[in-house]
Subunit: 196 residues, 2 copies
């Protein structure tokens, strides 16, 4: 594991955020100390404060970066001219890919957002509810257009989001199964079920 040096594409602040993501993922936000983070970065703890404001600022950066990514992608998807099932499939696949490619940040955002301080906690929760609401609306459109069965739309959204989130357990098995198989199988399961 070579240390990633700043200057090319990332500032030192970016490196700190990235190392913080991995640390918070492995040990939890509250159980991670600035000393440990400093060691991962390769400096003494107080030196971190030349680049960042506080420990909680790191958590904020991680959580809101993730939220922004999902919002941006949903904006794109909604502007597509395709049927609803295709849009849903696009969203599901994007969630899966995010779990596989931005695992540390996503894990931290999913697990540690409760540790955000106000007003960020409220802001984050509001954003997430709005995002869920947009997905619920998408599902409802699919039901109205008779593309989807008549189920409770929120339960559907919850099931999909939760299933994908569960890919955090996937990491161990990464080597055994191709990620494309994983993406295809899970997408298919969530849309078509498993019963013949």
């Amino acid at each position: 594991m070579g240390k990633i040096k700043p200057g090319k594409n990332a500032t030192k602040k970016d490196v700190i955020i990235q190392k913080a993501s991995a640390l918070f993922k492995n040990k939890g936000y509250a159980s991670s100390s600035m000393r440990e983070l400093a060691e991962a970065v390769g400096v003494e703890a107080p030196s971190l404060y030349n680049h960042i404001g506080s420990k909680s600022e790191l958590l904020q950066a991680i959580c809101f970066n993730v939220a922004d990514d999902f919002n941006a992608h949903l904006n794109n998807t909604e502007s597509l001219e395709s049927n609803t099932v295709s849009k849903i499939e696009t969203v599901v696949r994007f969630h899966i890919q995010m779990m596989l490619n931005n695992f540390d940040e996503l894990y931290v955002a999913n697990h540690e957002w409760k540790q955000l301080k106000e007003p960020f906690l409220t802001s984050f929760l509001t954003q997430r509810r709005q995002y869920e609401k947009r997905l619920v609306d998408l599902i409802e459109r699919g039901i109205k257009s008779k593309e989807l069965k008549v189920n409770n739309p929120y339960v559907i959204v919850l099931t999909i989001l939760s299933a994908v989130r569960g890919l955090e357990f996937w990491q161990q098995h990464k080597k055994n199964i191709d990620t494309q198989v994983l993406e295809d199988d899970m997408t298919n399961h969530l849309l078509n079920g498993i019963i013949k």
Copy 2:
């Protein structure tokens, strides 16, 4: 919220574990202090140590109680004489009911097991892998008997377990939808999909 007094069905230790579950769920294990727990129980912090050995012992109790419940139920299910799909449905419904009825403990076990100390961490992980393995075997039997589509069995197990786990987000919406509708819709989604 009346304080629950011990002596009837529960010892004081049981009350402490229950209060700890709620506290750890709300604030996270590492961010919860013994002072806060003591306040919830209604004593001073050092008094807790007349009943428990340590803070980490509380986490252990919570995590392994949950694990034991799931193992016991799977033992029962496997001894049933019914087809595989029925068994899977039984397991899915039990997971959903556990999420709805033992929410605090389950949430803590799902979120804070990483904070377990050795050798409990290893033991917990081993138990969980064994449990997952048994579910994978169950799915494989369903595929062999042609009850189920040919998908990767571990992906199926992961999808099901994760989806049910996501009911932690359900709590807010409890009032709006009947839990029986929730159980039926989610079970149906996970077995039959959502596409007409």
